[in-house]
C-alpha cells in the first residue's frame, strides 16, 4: 500500500501530527512544566526571578486570605453540589416524560448552560438587587423580606450558589436524561407486574441503574466547582467580597494584581492537587455505590 511503510509513512505521520503536537508542547506542556518550576521562585515579572525553595508553599500554609478563599470554595461546593444534583435529577425525571411539547421544555432548561458566565452574572446581579431586583420583589409578595444578597458579605455567597445551581441544572439534567433513557423498559415492566409503586420503582430501579451517570456527573461537577471563578469575580459588590473570595480569584489577584507569579503558580498547583486527590478518592469509593451492568 502506498505510503504505509518506512520513511514514506513517517512523512505522513509528521504531516498529520506535528501541528497539533507542536501546539500542545508550546501552549500546554511547556507552560505546565514552566508553572511547576515557577512555584520555587519569587518573581514580579520585572526584576530577576530568584529561587526560594519551598517558601511559596510555606507562605501559603499561613496565608489567611488563601484559607478564607479555600473555605468559601468548600462552602460553595458543599451547598452547590447536592442542590444541583437533586434538582437536576428531578428535572431529568420530569423531562423524560413522553408528553406533548416536551422538546420545548428540554430546550428551555438548557438555555442557561450555553449562556456565558458574564451574561449570567450580570443578569443575576440585577435580579439580586435588594431594592429594585426581581427576586426580593417576589419574596415580599409572599411575605418574606429578602436579604441584601450581593451587598452583604454574609449572604453574597448564597447568591453565587443560587446563580451557579440555576446555570448548571440543565447541564447535569441532560446527563441524567441520557442515563434514564439507557435504562431498559423491561425492568419497569417487571416491576409493574409485581405491583411496585412509582416511588418504589424510583428507589429500586431508577436510582441504582442511574448510579454510573450520577458518579460521572458528580466527578465533573466537583472538578468544575473547585474552579469557580467568574460569578465570584463579577457578581458581589466590592464591600461584600470578603465573604465570597474563592481560590481562583486569589490566583488571578496574586498573578495580575500583585505581580507575584511564583506565589500564584504555587496556588494553582495546590488547587490541582486538591482536585486530583478528591477525584481519586471518588474513583476508589465508587466501588461501594456505583452499579455497573455487567
Amino acid at each position: 500500500m502506498a505510503g504505509n511503510r518506512g520513511i514514506h509513512k513517517w512523512k505522513w505521520v509528521i504531516f498529520f501530527l506535528s501541528p497539533s503536537l507542536i501546539g500542545l508542547l508550546v501552549f500546554m506542556i511547556g507552560p505546565i512544566l514552566y508553572s511547576l518550576r515557577l512555584t520555587f521562585f519569587e518573581w514580579n515579572l520585572i526584576s530577576d526571578a530568584h529561587y526560594i525553595g519551598l517558601d511559596n508553599f510555606r507562605e501559603l500554609y499561613h496565608d489567611t486570605d488563601f484559607h478564607q478563599a479555600f473555605k468559601h470554595t468548600l462552602t460553595y461546593i458543599a451547598l452547590y453540589t447536592p442542590s444541583v444534583m437533586v434538582l437536576a435529577l428531578a428535572t431529568a425525571l420530569l423531562l423524560n416524560r413522553p408528553l406533548r411539547g416536551i422538546a420545548f421544555f428540554r430546550a428551555a432548561t438548557f438555555v442557561p448552560v450555553v449562556s456565558s458566565w458574564v451574561v449570567v452574572s450580570l443578569m443575576w446581579r440585577w435580579i439580586f438587587n435588594p431594592r429594585f431586583g426581581l427576586l426580593n420583589y417576589g419574596l415580599v409578595q409572599i411575605g418574606i423580606t429578602g436579604p441584601n444578597w450581593l451587598f452583604d458579605p454574609d449572604s453574597a455567597l448564597y447568591a453565587l450558589i443560587i446563580a451557579g445551581v440555576w446555570k448548571d441544572i440543565g447541564f447535569i439534567a441532560v446527563m441524567f436524561l441520557a442515563g434514564l433513557q439507557s435504562i431498559s423498559d423491561t425492568y419497569y415492566e417487571a416491576a409493574r407486574i409485581d405491583g411496585a409503586k412509582v416511588w418504589q420503582q424510583l428507589r429500586f430501579i431508577t436510582l441504582p441503574m442511574l448510579t454510573p451517570t450520577t458518579f460521572f456527573a458528580l466527578i465533573i461537577s466537583l472538578i468544575n466547582s473547585f474552579q469557580v471563578f467568574e460569578q465570584a469575580w463579577l457578581m458581589p459588590e466590592d464591600f461584600a467580597r470578603s465573604g465570597t473570595s474563592v481560590v481562583v480569584e486569589q490566583i488571578v489577584n496574586n498573578a495580575f494584581r500583585y505581580n507575584r507569579m511564583g506565589y500564584a503558580a504555587a496556588m494553582s498547583w495546590v488547587l490541582f492537587a486538591v482536585i486530583f486527590v478528591v477525584t481519586l478518592v471518588q474513583l476508589v469509593l465508587q466501588k461501594r455505590w456505583v452499579h455497573y451492568e455487567s
Partner: protein, 289 residues
C-alpha cells in the same frame, strides 16, 4: 365485577391520568419559567428608559418602549469592533481546533507508528490539568512573543486542546478499516483519504466538537480579560463586564442588559439551530462553557 363498577374504575383511572398530566405540565411550566424569566427580564430591562428601570414594582412589558439604551451602549463602547473580535476569535478558533484535532486524530486512529501510545498518553495527561495552572506561564509567553493585544494571543493558546483530538479519535476509530484499503488500491494517498473519506463520515463528531469549541471561545472571559488589554482587541464578554459600574459609577442597568442581550443572542441563535449537537456534547464529554 359488574359492568357498572368496571366503568367507574375506568373513569377513575382516566381522571387520575388527567390529574397527573396537569401536575406534570404545571411542574414543567414552573421549570421553564425559572429558566427563562431571567432572560425575559434582561430583554425587558434593556428596552426601558432610565427612569423606569428603577421602579418599585417590576414591569415586564416596557412602557414606554425604547432602544435608547442600545444607542447609549454603542456610544459608550466600541461595540462593532467587539462584535467583530468575538466573531473572528470564535470562528477562526473553532475552525483551527477542528482542523488540527482532526489531523492529529487521524494519525492516532488510522495509522500505526512506533511511540503512538506514549504520545497519546501525553495528550491524556494534559486533559487533567486545570487551566489555571497554565494561565500564568501562558501570559508570560504572550508577553515575550509580543502577543498581548493580538488575535494570535486570543486564539492560539486555546486552539490545541487535547480533548478535541481525543473526541475525534474515538469517532475515527469506529470507522471500518476496509474503507481506505480500497482507496489505497486506487492510488489515493493519506491526505485524500483523510479529506474525502474520513472527514465526511465523521460529521456528527465534527459537529459536536464545533459547537463545543465555538461556545468556549464565544463565552471565554478569563483569558481575553488578561490578553486583550486594549479596547481594540476586547471581546464582547470582556467589554460587557467593564460596563457595570463598580463603586465609581451607578450601574445603568438598562445599558448593561442591552450589552448582555447583544452578547448572548448570537450564542442562542447557534444553540437554536444546532441544539442536538449541544446535547450530544454534554453526554460525550461533560465539558461546559
Amino acid at each position: 365485577m359488574t359492568l357498572a363498577s368496571t366503568q367507574v374504575n375506568r373513569t377513575l383511572r382516566q381522571s387520575k391520568q388527567i390529574a397527573a398530566g396537569i401536575l406534570q405540565y404545571a411542574a414543567l411550566g414552573l421549570l421553564a419559567l425559572v429558566m427563562l424569566i431571567p432572560f425575559v427580564w434582561m430583554l425587558s430591562t434593556s428596552l426601558k428608559t432610565t427612569q423606569y428601570v428603577l421602579s418599585a414594582t417590576p414591569q415586564f412589558i416596557p412602557d414606554p418602549l425604547t432602544i435608547d439604551s442600545y444607542k447609549t451602549l454603542f456610544d459608550l463602547m466600541p461595540m462593532d469592533r467587539m462584535m467583530i473580535n468575538s466573531i473572528v476569535v470564535a470562528v477562526v478558533g473553532t475552525l483551527g481546533q477542528i482542523l488540527f484535532s482532526a489531523m492529529a486524530a487521524y494519525a492516532f486512529a488510522r495509522m500505526t507508528w512506533r511511540g503512538q501510545n506514549a504520545v497519546f498518553l501525553l495528550y491524556l495527561i494534559t486533559m487533567m490539568i486545570p487551566s489555571q495552572v497554565t494561565l500564568i506561564p501562558l501570559f508570560i509567553l504572550m508577553r515575550q512573543l509580543g502577543w498581548v493585544n493580538s488575535y494570535q494571543g486570543l486564539i492560539l493558546p486555546g486552539l490545541f486542546s487535547a480533548f478535541g483530538t481525543f473526541l475525534l479519535r474515538q469517532s475515527f476509530l469506529s470507522l471500518p478499516r476496509d474503507l481506505e484499503e480500497a482507496a489505497f488500491m486506487d492510488g489515493a494517498n493519506h491526505f485524500t483519504i483523510f479529506w474525502r473519506i474520513i472527514l465526511p463520515l465523521s460529521k456528527p463528531a465534527l459537529a459536536t466538537l464545533s459547537v463545543l469549541s465555538f461556545m468556549q471561545y464565544w463565552n471565554s472571559y478569563l483569558w481575553p480579560l488578561f490578553v486583550a488589554r486594549e479596547d481594540l482587541f476586547m471581546t464582547l464578554p470582556v467589554g460587557l463586564a467593564k460596563l457595570q459600574g463598580g463603586p465609581r459609577a451607578l450601574t445603568q442597568w438598562n445599558v448593561v442588559m442591552a450589552g448582555a442581550v447583544i452578547t448572548v443572542l448570537p450564542m442562542l441563535i447557534v444553540y437554536l439551530f444546532a441544539q442536538k449537537w449541544f446535547i450530544r456534547s454534554v453526554t460525550l464529554s461533560g465539558i461546559k462553557g
